[in-house]
């Protein structure tokens, strides 16, 4: 019972949505088109579980004086303050009816002043990591690694005016070997071939996995056994 009903729900909703894709109107189609909406709503309910987990973990760290517990205080204070500001639209010029991110609101300040610089800087760490990763991984150890490395080098050079300058001496008849042209050719053809093979494979993986889920063959997500 506890296990069968979820499987029946999965089956019905899966079939209804697939039907909704092929049927242009009626309840099936409505469900297909509204699924993203429904999902977003359920996600908000799930926030209660997520927020609860966050609070519990950090409160526990503080109360047990675990390593680095003062930082958990930072998280707790930041979380609660921002939550109150956001849910009650504190400082929002339009009051409770105002747009959530109206300029001048406190939440807007949290976004522009704290969230944004932190997010952008974390993101920018990638500039350093692509360099360290390529330094380490791009070694001609095996044939495969050599191919990877060569393709990367051609693109790296071809994507800058330096590539054009390096191969500008080539005769007109060999223009296709100039680095920017070679780089574009690799992107447009072999790269496309690889991407396509991966995409077709993924599509089949998604189709088969979805089918296994709908038919109840894959049911780990409900917990295994009984």
């Amino acid at each position: 019972m506890r296990r069968r009903i979820p499987l029946i729900i999965t089956f019905i909703i899966g079939v209804v949505l697939i039907t909704g894709y092929f049927v242009t109107r009626g309840p099936f189609n409505t469900l297909y088109e509204s699924f993203s909406d429904y999902f977003a709503i359920i996600t908000v309910f799930a926030f209660i579980l997520g927020g609860g987990s966050l609070l519990k973990i950090h409160l526990k760290r503080v109360s047990s004086r675990a390593a680095d517990w003062p930082y958990s205080v930072v998280t707790l204070v930041a979380f609660l303050v921002t939550l109150v500001i956001g849910l009650f639209k504190v400082g929002n010029p339009g009051g409770m009816g105002g747009e959530i991110l109206a300029s001048g609101s406190w939440l807007r300040f949290m976004f522009d002043g704290v969230y944004n610089p932190l997010s952008a800087t974390m993101f920018s760490l990638l500039a350093f990591f692509v360099a360290s990763a390529s330094y380490r991984a791009f070694r001609a150890r095996t044939k495969e690694a050599t191919i990877l490395l060569s393709a990367a080098m051609v693109i790296l050079l071809g994507r800058t005016p330096v590539g054009a300058w390096l191969t500008a001496w080539m005769p007109e008849s060999l223009a296709f070997l100039e680095l920017p042209n070679l780089a574009n050719w690799i992107m447009a053809w072999p790269n496309t071939a690889g991407q396509r093979a991966i995409m077709i494979g993924i599509a089949l993986g998604v189709i088969a996995t979805s089918l296994r889920i709908i038919l109840g063959i894959e049911r780990n997500y409900l917990g295994r056994g009984e």
């Binding site: 088109e33 699924f35 993203s36 909406d37 977003a40 991110l101 944004n116 997010s119 952008a120 993101f123 500039a127 350093f128 692509v130 360099a131 360290s132 390529s134 330094y135 380490r136 791009f138 070694r139 001609a140 150890r141 490395l149 990367a152 080098m153 790296l156 050079l157 994507r159 800058t160 005016p161 330096v162 920017p180 574009n184 992107m187 447009a188 790269n191 496309t192 991407q195 396509r196 995409m199």
Partner: protein
């Protein structure tokens, strides 16, 4: 320790330092590297050139401030181009943060560079719609159920530019500037393939490789990253020399790119040189990375 080994096991913080320098120094010295458009970018430019004046264009800003350095130059170049060609542009976004990106164009660029263009007549801001790819789907199925007013809440019927827009197919082309999901891929899947509206646009250098497979059947053209933007700028400047000074934003930003790209290539070459020298010295045994020999790989490397 032998020299090749010390090069191979260089502290990665030295690499970090070099990258930092390679970005900062060109930012201070501001060198300029001129570019020329490749076919995949030229195709967007030519399409915009060919559209008759008054054609309705849909321009979706599917990105936030994170990726603005790459995509803003494309947005500006496209807006300048479409406005110069007298096309009617509807701005839109599938990213909540995209609203701010549109505002930068409608508040700062358009009133200054195109004072004769009027809001509601020559361009309109349709604002943000939630629902990711599903939103596109809804717009294609029934445009007005999702979009019935502009970002300020003015009904579409009250704006001359949108009064006749009843369906998505009333737009001759969809342009998207893409930072991730949803973006060009979803526009292709839900609008291009299904409603037959041509789709083109630009993407960050991260999403662009994933979009190449759609070109040229499902995607008219693609600007990939800053380089794509700088190519579009140069196409624009070639055709409309008046923009020579205004639109070189991407071209200017190419300085740090050139230096870091060359630096990475040199580092990789150095690494390989050290690897081969080291391998020659040790009779070809080393170099295979495997679970057994992994323990030495820990710590700072």
């Amino acid at each position: 320790m032998r020299i090749p080994d010390s090069i191979l096991q260089i502290d990665r913080r030295i690499i970090f330092l070099l990258i930092g320098a390679a970005v900062c120094i060109p930012l201070l010295l501001k060198p300029r590297f001129q570019d020329s458009p490749t076919p995949i970018v030229q195709s967007i430019f030519d399409t915009v050139e060919r559209l008759p004046a008054g054609s309705r264009v849909f321009l979706s800003f599917d990105y936030g401030p994170d990726t603005a350095p790459e995509l803003d130059p494309m947005a500006k170049a496209l807006v300048r181009h479409t406005m110069t060609r007298d096309l009617e542009v509807s701005f839109f976004t599938l990213f909540p943060e995209g609203v701010g990106q549109i505002k930068k164009i409608t508040d700062n660029l358009l009133p200054v560079e195109f004072p004769d263009k009027a809001y509601g007549r020559d361009y309109v801001n349709l604002g943000y719609k939630a629902g990711l790819g599903g939103a596109i789907n809804t717009m294609v199925v029934n445009f007005r159920t999702l979009v019935n007013a502009d970002a300020e809440g003015t009904p579409l019927d009250d704006l001359p530019i949108t009064a006749d827009v009843d369906e998505m197919v009333d737009y001759v082309i969809i342009l998207s500037l893409t930072a991730g999901d949803p973006g060009l891929k979803e526009w292709i899947q839900f609008a291009g393939d299904i409603a037959g509206i041509p789709v083109m646009g630009g993407g960050t250098a991260v999403v662009a490789p994933e979009l190449y497979p759609y070109y040229p059947q499902q995607l008219v053209g693609l600007m990939g990253g800053l380089k794509g933007a700088s190519e579009y700028e140069s196409a624009l400047v070639d055709r409309y020399p008046a923009y020579r000074n205004a639109t070189m934003e991407a071209t200017m930003r190419m300085g740090p790119q050139v230096v870091t790209h060359v630096l990475i290539v040199l580092l990789v070459l150095l690494g390989n040189l050290a690897y081969f020298l080291g391998r020659a010295g040790r009779g070809n045994r080393a170099g295979r990375k495997g679970l057994a020999g992994r323990t030495g790989r820990g710590g700072q490397s």
